[in-house]
C-alpha cells in the first residue's frame, strides 16, 4: 500500500488515499450546489428570454404592419363598371374631421375660430363658437377629400380628430343615379344596384374584381342629354327612357329624370325622384293597341288586312264615352287601325278576341305581375277587374296599368319572334341568357313588326318624326291622360331595325306641354321632298313630342349600336 502524504508531526502516520478522496468529494458537493444554483438562474433567464422571443415572434406581424396601415386603402366594396369597363362606382378614403374643445384653452379657441374663418369661409362660425363652449365633441367636416383634410391637418391644432372612412364615389355623378342607388355611412347599399347586390359587392373574396353591368355610359349620356333637351322644349316635369336588347333582355341604358348627384348623399324622398322606368306604374295609353292586334292575330280572329266597316267616331260603355282622338275614316283595316291609332277599331278587335283570350294574352306577356329585376325599386301593376267596359278601355290602354320596363319587355317579345325575355343588368348573364320559350308565333311577330314600321314610315302614321334614315324604326305612340287632370303622360316605344328587331327603345315624357315655339323638322312630302321647318304646333300628343325625342335619340345612338354590333357591321 502506498501512502501519498505523511503526517507533518508523526512519521508513522500516513494520510490514506481514502481520506484524500473523501475531501475531494466534499469539494465537488459544494461546487455542484453552486453550479446548480447558477444554472437555475441561467436557465430562468433563458426561459424569460425564450418567452420574450416567442412573444415577439407571435406579435411580430402586428408590430410591423402598423406602418402599412397608414397607407393602405381598406377596400370593403367592389367597384361597379359598365359594359366597356368605365368605372361607375369605386371606393376612396374620405375623412370626417371633428373637434375636441376640452383640449383647447380660451385663447386657442379664439385662434381656431379666426383660422377656420379664413381657411373655410363656408363654415358657420357662430355655430362652431357655440359648440366650442358647450359640447365635448363636434364635427366640422364630413366625407372630406384628402386635400381638404390636409388643410385642417396643416393648421396643426391638437383639438382636431381625423377619422378616415372608406367611402363610395361615383365618377359619372348623375348619369346612373337611379340605377346605382346609394350607400349609407357604413358603406352598405341602401338603394338601387348597391342594395340589390349588397352581399355580392361586399364579398371579401371578390373585392379585387369589379361588378360588370350591361349598361353603356355613352348611350346613357346621349339619351339623358336628349331627355334634358326635351324638358327645355316641352316643359315636362319628368321623363324616362329605356334601351334594351330584344333578343337577350340586356339593358343598355335606363334613364329617369329628374335625377341627382350620387356624390352629394342627400335624402331623396320626393316622389318626383321615383325611378319612372322600373318603379313607376302608369296607364300608358295607345301602346296597348299593339297587344290588342297581336291578341287578335294570335287567336286568328283577324288578319292584317281584315277590314272593319262603319266604325263609329265614338261609343259609350256604361257611363264612359270612348271616342277617337281625331277624325278618322269609317272603314279601316287592322293595319290602319294601328297606323292611325284608332280607339274604336281597337275596341272592336278586342271584342272579337273576347275577355278571356285577351286577358290570357296579356298575362302571357307578364304585364300585370311584379317583374323580377335587379333593382329594389320595382313597381307592382294595379290589379284589374275584367268586364266588358274594362276590355273596351284596356284595348286602347286606358284603365290598365303596368311599368314601362314591363311594357318594353312585352314589345321585345313581340319583336324577337315571340320568345320570352327577362330584362337584366348583370353582364355575367349575357352568355347564359338565351331566348326563352316561344309565347307568340313568329308569324304574328313578323306581322306586328311590319305594322309598327308602317306607323313610323307612312305619312298617315303617328310617328313620322322617328323615321330616321337607315334604322328602319318601327314603333307605337301612346298618349295617356292622367287620372283627374288634363295632364298627359306621353310614350313612344320603338323597335329597330324593323326587319329583324335588335333593340327596343322606350321614351316617356311626364306632363309635357304643347310647344308652339318649337321648330319641327317636318319629314319629306311630295311638295317638299327635302322636308321643311314648321313652328306653331299646339297639339300635345306623343307624336308631337315623345316621337321627336326618340327620333333624335336613335339618330345619335344608332351609329354607336351599329359599331358595337359586328353582325350589323357585316350587313353594311
Amino acid at each position: 500500500m502506498k501512502n501519498k502524504k505523511k503526517s507533518f508531526y508523526f512519521k508513522d502516520y500516513t494520510e490514506s488515499e481514502f481520506t484524500n478522496k473523501k475531501n475531494n468529494i466534499n469539494f465537488i458537493k459544494i461546487s455542484l450546489g453552486r453550479v446548480t444554483f447558477l444554472s437555475f438562474i441561467f436557465f430562468s433567464l433563458m426561459l424569460i428570454f425564450s418567452i420574450k422571443i416567442i412573444y415577439l415572434s407571435l406579435s411580430q406581424q402586428k408590430i410591423f404592419n402598423i406602418t402599412n396601415l397608414k397607407n393602405e386603402i381598406p377596400k370593403n366594396r367592389r367597384d361597379i363598371v359598365d359594359r366597356n369597363g368605365s368605372v361607375l362606382a369605386t371606393n376612396v378614403i374620405l375623412y370626417d374631421v371633428g373637434v375636441r374643445p376640452q383640449l383647447l384653452k380660451e385663447k386657442e379657441k379664439k385662434n381656431l375660430l379666426i383660422k377656420l374663418g379664413i381657411l373655410f369661409p363656408e363654415l358657420n362660425l357662430n355655430l362652431i363658437k357655440k359648440k366650442l363652449n358647450k359640447e365635448k365633441f363636434f364635427s366640422v367636416g364630413k366625407r372630406l377629400a384628402p386635400k381638404d383634410k390636409d388643410e385642417f391637418w396643416l393648421m396643426g391644432n391638437k383639438a382636431f380628430v381625423f377619422d378616415p372612412k372608406p367611402s363610395r364615389i361615383y365618377p359619372q355623378k348623375n348619369l346612373f343615379s337611379h340605377i346605382l342607388g346609394q350607400t349609407n355611412d357604413a358603406n352598405q347599399g341602401i338603394s338601387g344596384v348597391e342594395k340589390f347586390f349588397d352581399k355580392n359587392l361586399s364579398n371579401k373574396d371578390k373585392l379585387n374584381f369589379s361588378l360588370n353591368l350591361t349598361l353603356d355610359s355613352n348611350l346613357q349620356y346621349l339619351i339623358r342629354e336628349e331627355l334634358i333637351n326635351a324638358k327645355s322644349n316641352f316643359n315636362n316635369i319628368g321623363s324616362g327612357a329605356l334601351l334594351m336588347d330584344v333578343e337577350n333582355g340586356e339593358i343598355l341604358s335606363l334613364v329617369s329624370l329628374p335625377d341627382y348627384d350620387l356624390n352629394q348623399r342627400r335624402a331623396i324622398n320626393d316622389n318626383i325622384y321615383t325611378n319612372k322606368i322600373t318603379h313607376g306604374v302608369y296607364e300608358l295609353g295607345s301602346v296597348f293597341k299593339t297587344f290588342t292586334i297581336a291578341a287578335g292575330l294570335e287567336n286568328r280572329v283577324i288578319k292584317s288586312k281584315t277590314i272593319f266597316e262603319n266604325l263609329e267616331n265614338s261609343l259609350t260603355c256604361d257611363k264612359y264615352k270612348i271616342s277617337e282622338h281625331d277624325k278618322l275614316p269609317t272603314n279601316l283595316n287592322v293595319e290602319q287601325i294601328l297606323v292611325r291609332s284608332s280607339n274604336i277599331g281597337s275596341v272592336r278587335i278586342a271584342q272579337k278576341v273576347g275577355i278571356e283570350n285577351y286577358k290570357n294574352f296579356l298575362n302571357s306577356l307578364k304585364l300585370f305581375e311584379k317583374i323580377s329585376f335587379e333593382l329594389e325599386e320595382v313597381g307592382v301593376p294595379l290589379s284589374l277587374k275584367w268586364g266588358k267596359c274594362k276590355l273596351a278601355t284596356a284595348s286602347f290602354g286606358h284603365g290598365i296599368t303596368t311599368t314601362p320596363l314591363q311594357l318594353a319587355r312585352a314589345y321585345a317579345i313581340l319583336g324577337n319572334g315571340g320568345y320570352e325575355v327577362q330584362p337584366f343588368m348583370l353582364k355575367d348573364k349575357i352568355k347564359s341568357n338565351k331566348l326563352g320559350k316561344q309565347i307568340i308565333s313568329t308569324k304574328t311577330s313578323e306581322a306586328i313588326n311590319l305594322m309598327l314600321r308602317k306607323v313610323v314610315s307612312l305619312s298617315e302614321g303617328t310617328a313620322n318624326f322617328a323615321d330616321i334614315e337607315g334604322y328602319e324604326v318601327g314603333g307605337k305612340t301612346g298618349t295617356a291622360v292622367k287620372y283627374g287632370s288634363n295632364l298627359k303622360l306621353n310614350t313612344f316605344i320603338s323597335l329597330f331595325p324593323a326587319s329583324k328587331p335588335k333593340y327596343v327603345l322606350l321614351v316617356m315624357l311626364d306632363e309635357p306641354k304643347a310647344a308652339p315655339n318649337f321648330v319641327y323638322n317636318m319629314p319629306p312630302t311630295k311638295k317638299f321632298p327635302k322636308g321643311y321647318k314648321y313652328k306653331g304646333e299646339t297639339r300635345n300628343t306623343s307624336g308631337w313630342n315623345t316621337v321627336v325625342v326618340a327620333g333624335k335619340i336613335i339618330e345619335k345612338i344608332g351609329p354607336i349600336l351599329a359599331i358595337n354590333d359586328l353582325q350589323a357591321l357585316k350587313n353594311f
Binding site: S86, L175, N218, Y221, E469, G470, E472
Partner: protein, 238 residues
C-alpha cells in the same frame, strides 16, 4: 509547555500496534464499494447543453435580426406598393372623370365643329340592298315598296355607265377623226410603232429564206410533218 499527556493519549494502543499487520484494512476494498458519483460527466452534459442553448439563442437572435431587417425591407416595399396603388387608383379615377361622356362632350362643344360630333347613318354607307326582308318591309311614304326603288336604282346605274362608255367612245372617235387635235407625244409614239411594223414586213419580203431558216419555223415545219404522218389535221399556226 507541551502537555505530554495530551499527546500520549492520542497514541494508539500497544496491543493494536502489535496487531497492526493483522488488522490492517484493505482500503481499496472499501473504497471500491462506495458508489461512484459521475459528477464530472453531468457537468459536462450541463455545460454542453447550456452552450448549445446559448449558441441556439444567439443564432435565433441573429436570424431574427436578419428577418427583421428583411421584414423592414418588405414593409418598405409594401408601403411603396400601397402608395403606387393609391396613386394608380387616383389616376384611374381622374381618368374616369376626364373621359366621362359629359366631360368629352363639353370639350367637344368647345373645340369641335358641331357637325363633326354626331354622324348620321347616311354618312357611313348605303344600306345592303340584298336584304330581302328589309326591302319587303321598308315601305316608303308613298306606299311603294323598296324593290321598285332598287330596280329604278339599277336602271339608273346602267344608264349612267352606258352614258359614260358612249362619252368615252365619242371622245376617242373625235380625236381620230381630227388628227390635228392629237398631242405631239402621242403622234410620235404612233409613228414610231407604224415605222417598226413597216420595217418588219419589209424584211420578211426581202429575205424570206432567213425567216424560213429560223429555228421556230423549222420546228413548226417538223411538227406539221409528224402530224401529217400520224394523221392529225394540220392547222396553220396556233
Amino acid at each position: 509547555m507541551i502537555n505530554k499527556s495530551k499527546w500520549i493519549n492520542t497514541l494508539p494502543d500497544t496491543s493494536l500496534k502489535n496487531d497492526e499487520e493483522i488488522n490492517k484494512l484493505d482500503y481499496e476494498k472499501w473504497t471500491n464499494t462506495v458508489p461512484k458519483k459521475n459528477s464530472y460527466d453531468s457537468i459536462k452534459k450541463y455545460s454542453l447543453v447550456s452552450i448549445l442553448f446559448v449558441s441556439g439563442l444567439l443564432l435565433v437572435s441573429i436570424v431574427k435580426n436578419e428577418t427583421r431587417s428583411l421584414q423592414k425591407e418588405i414593409n418598405k416595399l409594401e408601403v411603396s406598393i400601397n402608395v403606387i396603388n393609391f396613386n394608380l387608383e387616383q389616376a384611374i379615377l381622374d381618368n374616369e372623370v376626364i373621359t366621362s361622356p359629359e366631360n368629352i362632350s363639353l370639350l367637344a362643344r368647345e373645340h369641335l365643329n358641331k357637325e363633326l360630333i354626331f354622324y348620321k347613318r347616311s354618312q357611313i354607307k348605303k344600306l345592303d340592298s340584298k336584304n330581302e326582308k328589309f326591302t319587303k318591309i321598308n315601305i316608303t311614304k308613298d306606299g311603294k315598296t323598296n324593290k321598285k326603288k332598287i330596280g329604278d336604282l339599277k336602271k339608273s346605274l346602267k344608264l349612267k355607265i352606258s352614258e359614260k362608255f358612249n362619252n368615252e367612245k365619242n371622245s376617242i372617235k373625235k380625236i381620230y377623226s381630227d388628227p390635228k387635235t392629237i398631242p405631239k407625244n402621242v403622234k410620235k409614239k404612233i409613228t414610231s410603232k407604224i415605222q417598226a411594223k413597216k420595217d418588219e414586213i419589209k424584211s420578211l419580203y426581202d429575205q424570206p429564206q432567213e425567216v424560213l431558216a429560223s429555228k421556230r419555223v423549222t420546228k413548226w415545219g417538223a411538227i406539221q410533218l409528224v402530224k401529217a404522218f400520224i394523221g392529225i389535221p394540220i392547222v396553220p399556226g396556233r
